[in-house]
């Protein structure tokens, strides 16, 4: 699970005349990831495509041209199949379509010409003067065309003139010597001159004739398009499956371009999953003359000194739900063959982080439902896997929402007395009851599902009582501090796993580098102890930790006293000059960490311990996003619910619409930010501790390519 599948290098040799059978066999087996030969060895040349390659690629080009002309759309599922009579069918179809397509282009050209003519003649039809009246004058100039604005009198420009006007058109007859002035004058009033056709007859009749011709050609065009449509429906299936089939065929006939050949033999290099090597050998042995040699499975951290060996391709070996998370890893980078595959750990951690940040039963269940629906309905692919991820994350969010935060849609099931007041009650009941009364005044505005929970608090409520009491409230200060401490604990666990994986990855590579990971783990634990320095075992309410009163009571509830007691955080050392108190255990761990890191990496690497601290604080976003999302939802609810709960019908309807929009916003934005932050903690803080990536995905010869050939 944590390692990619073991691969063996294979070498397949045989005589040239068995090249095609060997290719067909390998293609059918879909087991060998080919390594392209680049012509680097003397005596071997890059192979030539099989003789029928030219015809196959010509067919494919023709087919694609036909499909483009017919605008055949690609469905997602096609069965690749090339019928025996594919070529004659393609050629017949090509001839047919070329003719129709040619006709269509001609008619389209003709129609655009007719359109232009009609538009030019339209003004003259409106004016009503026969065409012959526009020509043949010795001393009169004719200005005819379109006019968009009103035309004032022409008297100031040309005293002798005659104007014919119609809707949008004008014809002006003026003496020749005034032509220039009148043209300028008209131009200023939105006039565009149109050339008058040199012909006779009445313009409306001419226009009608043109329009009749245009209708005739339009009909012809519709007929041709109809015929093309018939061809499309008739041949779409053939075209698509033949195209897919020819793509497969191309892969086969051009395969020799990836092989090394001599005059009489061929050599194929590649990788095969070690578990299939023997079966492959037996299978190829049936081709008499073809011989396959498989090396032993390549060990995980193989280091070939001197010569740079190419890494085997990587096939991740996750099963079940973890497999659905693989796309998240590939999105970052495919793991290299030599390192551990983090998919399983990401698949466990991501939903927990997502759930912690959403932490709401309502949104969680909705996302789980939406994810399940998408997963059931969508076709296999990354998006479907994303839906699966959302489903699992939503489930975790619902679990946390029900059991830890006790809230749905940003509304808590029950009111919760702030933990600092509750804790104080044990030590100083008088002070606690005073603060309780003060708090009830604020709580009177808080919306809850259940009604009448606490004596003396009449807060707005929905009247649905679930027996799920919140352990924490995201909007109460002491609980937020606890959430920050829990986030730091998540950092300790997550980063710790990262360093352990880094140790394993480096062990086969360099023992020294592996040991440095131990140093980083020491630093991590030391820093964690330093931060928890104020948090003592036992619920000592009298002590202010600097993180808020009594926060450690809540925290020890989640983490357990034993760990804190074991860390013996009480034994503090004060650093002389800085007057800074640090738990002894933390100090020892940090000094040990610095020593290990200096010995295994470099003296300057000590500075990076601050980087580990930054990484840990970065997990504060687990609490931060949760609080921000809860605060947004709570703000919307507080503002909008009074509308829904009381008032006239119109306000109630308006309130529901508003509430729906506001809740949708929190629902989607919350999931987007929680999803991005959860994956970011994996990509940045976690992966940097061990992950190098840059692997090649195992793509066996014969498996359908997802991209165009």
């Amino acid at each position: 699970m944590l390692r990619p599948e073991r691969m063996s290098r294979v070498l397949i040799v045989g005589p040239r005349d068995l090249l095609e059978p060997a290719i067909l066999r390998l293609h059918g087996l879909k087991a060998v990831h080919l390594v392209d030969y680049r012509g680097e060895d003397e005596g071997f040349e890059i192979g030539k495509p099989l003789p029928r390659a030219a015809e196959v690629s010509e067919n494919l080009v023709k087919l694609r041209a036909i499909a483009a002309t017919l605008k055949v759309e690609k469905p997602t599922e096609v069965v690749p199949e090339v019928p025996a009579d594919a070529r004659p069918r393609i050629l017949a179809l090509e001839g047919n379509i070329n003719e129709e397509e040619g006709n269509r282009k001609n008619i389209e050209g003709l129609l655009s010409d007719l359109d232009r003519k009609v538009e030019e003649r339209r003004p003259f039809a409106a004016l009503g003067l026969p065409f012959e009246l526009y020509h043949g004058y010795d001393r009169i100039a004719v200005l005819a065309g379109t006019l968009t604005k009103d035309l004032p009198g022409l008297d100031p420009v040309a005293p002798h003139h005659e104007v014919f006007r119609a809707e949008g058109a004008v014809a002006v007859f003026v003496p020749k010597e005034k032509e220039g002035d009148v043209r300028d004058f008209l131009g200023r009033h939105g006039f565009t001159q149109v050339d008058v056709p040199e012909r006779e007859g009445s313009p409306p009749a001419v226009l009608a004739a043109l329009e009749a011709e245009r209708t005739k050609w339009r009909q012809r065009l519709t007929e041709i398009e109809g015929r093309l449509e018939t061809l499309r429906t008739k041949y779409a299936t053939f075209l698509l499956s033949a195209e897919a089939g020819l793509e497969v065929e191309i892969e086969k006939v051009e395969a020799p371009l990836r092989f090394a050949t001599t005059e009489h033999s061929f050599v194929i290099q590649g990788w095969v999953p070690s578990s299939r090597a023997q079966a492959l050998q037996a299978d190829l042995a049936s081709l008499r003359g073809v011989h396959m040699e498989a090396e032993a499975p390549m060990a995980a951290p193989a280091e070939h000194h001197g010569k740079a060996e190419p890494d085997p391709p990587v096939r991740l070996m996750n099963k079940g739900s973890a497999k659905r998370f693989e796309f998240l890893i590939h999105l970052f980078s495919t793991p290299s063959y030599k390192e551990l595959d983090p998919t399983l750990i990401v698949s466990l951690i991501f939903p927990v982080f997502f759930g912690l940040m959403i932490g709401d039963a309502g949104y969680g269940l909705l996302w789980a439902g939406l994810g399940a629906l998408g997963y059931a309905k969508l076709k296999p692919g990354d998006f479907r896997n994303l839906m699966f991820v959302m489903m699992v994350g939503g489930l975790m969010a619902a679990i946390f929402g029900l059991l830890v935060w006790g809230e749905a849609f940003g509304i808590p099931f029950h009111l919760k007395v702030p933990s600092d007041i509750a804790a104080q009650a044990a030590v100083n009941p008088a002070a606690a009851s005073f603060r309780y009364v003060e708090w009830t005044r604020e709580a009177a505005h808080e919306l809850t599902w259940a009604c009448g929970d606490l004596p003396g608090v009449a807060n707005p409520c929905l009247g649905i009582s679930a027996p799920l009491y919140p352990l924490m409230n995201k909007l109460q200060k002491p609980d937020v501090v606890v959430m920050l401490l829990l986030s730091l604990t998540a950092a300790l666990i997550h980063l710790g796993i990262g360093f352990v994986l880094g140790f394993v990855n480096e062990w086969g590579h360099s023992k020294k580098h592996a040991l440095s990971k131990i140093g980083w783990i020491l630093a991590l634990v030391g820093l964690f102890a330093l931060i928890l320095g104020g948090v003592k075992p036992g619920c000592d309410t009298a002590r202010d930790t600097g993180l808020g009163v009594a926060s450690h009571c809540q925290y020890t509830y989640f983490v357990g006293d034993t760990i804190l007691a074991w860390a013996n955080l009480d034994a503090q050392v004060t650093i002389p000059v800085l007057q800074f108190a640090i738990p002894l255990s933390s100090l020892i761990l940090l000094i040990a960490a610095a020593a290990v890191v200096m010995a295994t990496e470099s003296p300057m690497a000590v500075m990076e311990i601050a980087g580990v601290l930054a990484n840990m604080v970065s997990y504060g976003r687990l609490a931060g996003i949760g609080v921000a999302k809860a605060a947004t939802a709570s703000a919307f609810n507080t503002v909008i619910f009074p509308l829904v709960l009381g008032g006239s019908l119109g306000w109630v309807v308006f309130g529901f619409v508003l509430l729906f929009l506001a809740q949708s916003l929190v629902f989607f934005l919350g999931a987007i930010s929680a999803g991005i932050q959860a994956i970011r903690l994996n990509y940045v803080e976690f992966f940097i501790k061990f992950f190098k990536g840059n692997g090649t995905v195992f793509h066996p010869f014969g498996a359908r390519a997802t991209t165009e050939v």
């Binding site: 200060k477 920050l484 990509y683």
Partner: protein, 73 residues
């Protein structure tokens, strides 16, 4: 009372300052990242990693703001 107000203001300034710093840093990195991804989609993982790095600034701000608010009794 005045002291509490100052603490609350400090927390607000911390959030605003780190928020603006993060936004500015992500703007610079994000622009370049989107450009790089358009050319080479396989850079997505590394691009996102680089782009979200400055987010840590505002998380620091958040933690400090909480610690400051913890001082208000």
């Amino acid at each position: 009372m005045a002291e509490e107000g100052l603490i609350a203001l400090s927390a607000a300034i911390t959030m605003a300052g780190t928020g603006i710093a993060t936004a500015w840093a992500e703007k610079v990195v994000g622009g370049a990242t989107v450009g790089a991804i358009a050319e080479k989609p396989e850079l997505f993982g590394r691009g996102v990693t680089l782009m979200v790095l400055p987010e840590t600034i505002v998380i620091f701000g958040l933690v400090i703001a909480f610690l400051l608010l913890g001082k208000i009794a």
